[in-house]
């Protein structure tokens, strides 16, 4: 049997919707597991990529310092890196905060928010520092492929993965391109 394709996945400033869409390929998951092996992924809860992998799938944009570190780890360890979903490609809905300053956002949530008590902006050193703006992945590292959609449909994910594994150009046909 041929060696399995090693895949790592993660969600940065995303909602895990793209991962849900991956699970939504239903019984085809069984076929997929015959040919791929998951390294770091929320699916198996492995926290760091253990070895160089063939494919990295990243959902979500980049909103804080930890996201930047994870993204760099993925770029270093993944032969092919894919931005999955609108947030990874454009910053998506989290980037709607880019219309405001970070201070305005934090004060709205933690100081002026309805029902806040002992109002102050959280400053625990364990909380990753927020970036001034939410960025798409391609602002930080080179991205090899993009899978648009919010989320990309299960069929789009399946098409992409199967074409890539077959050694073909995995660009989506027009009917599978959606931005919502």
């Amino acid at each position: 049997m041929a060696e399995k394709l090693k895949v790592a996945t993660c969600s940065l400033a995303g909602c895990f919707g793209c991962h849900m869409s991956l699970l939504d390929i239903d019984e085809r998951l069984l076929d997929l597991l015959e040919v791929v092996e998951f390294d770091r992924s929320p699916i198996n809860d492995i926290k760091h990529i253990s070895q160089p992998v063939d494919l990295g799938l990243i959902e979500g944009g980049v909103c804080n310092a930890e996201n930047v570190h994870v993204l760099h780890e993925f770029r270093k360890m993944c032969k092919i890196l894919v931005a999955v979903g609108e947030c990874g490609i454009t910053g998506g809905l989290p980037s709607m905060r880019n219309s405001f300053t970070l201070k305005e956002c934090l004060e709205e949530a933690f100081v002026r928010g309805v029902g806040t008590e002992n109002a102050h902006i959280p400053d625990d050193p364990e909380i990753p520092l927020l970036l001034d703006k939410v960025r798409p992945l391609h602002h930080i590292v080179k991205i090899d492929y993009f899978l648009p959609g919010c989320p990309p449909s299960a069929d789009a994910l399946w098409y992409f993965l199967t074409e890539l594994m077959a050694g073909n150009d995995p660009s989506l046909p027009q009917e599978l391109i959606h931005f919502d």
Binding site: G92, K133, Q174
Partner: protein
Amino acid sequence: MTSSFFLDGKEIPFKEGQTVLQAAMGAGQYIPHLCWRPELEPHSSCRLCIVIISGKPFSSCTQPAMEGQKVECNTPKLNAMRRAVTQLLFVEGNHYCPSCEESGNCKLQATAYHVGMQDSHFPHQFPIRERDSSHPRVNLDRDRCIRCETCVRASRELDGKNVFAIHGRGIKSRLAVNSPTSLLKDSGISPDDMAVKLCPTGALTVKRVGFEWPIGQRIYDKESLATIELREYANQEAVHG
């Protein structure tokens, strides 16, 4: 004798005074466009309808059709350029398709699908633009405006109102509202205006009807942009000649 030219080698008949784009659309050949509308004067600003004639680029919405000319349109180079132009329109605004009520009915989005845009390629600018929600029925979201001036022309030429104009220059240009307060609520705009109906993005929308159609039943969920545009053009030709 009918005059004709060649579009990617295919013979296209045309009537005297028609542009390359009009003749092509009339012959069932779709050329991507955003700022062009058959009922308005051409504007030639979106640059999507660019074609090559005798080695030089021309916007087909303004270029008169001429006997025997050879027009290149659907070539890998021109299609890559159209995709880049569309990507630039996305990154210089704030286009949040997943939360936009126009998604699925949006010509900018459908154009992006048509040109095979899967990513934004360029750095997003995340510009700060003012919204105008002052009017009870019409919303103006400048984040989504591509400054194609469709509303400017439609308000002037079809609605007879002159509600909109472009203010400022280059990347700083914005859609301005012609009213004493510069707000929509003090303008003559109405939700039935062609200026609102023809907006190719979600910049001008009618309030309280957003998300009326579920995903799967929206305009471009069912048919491609090219199919719809060609049919609408043929219908319009049948009525107005």
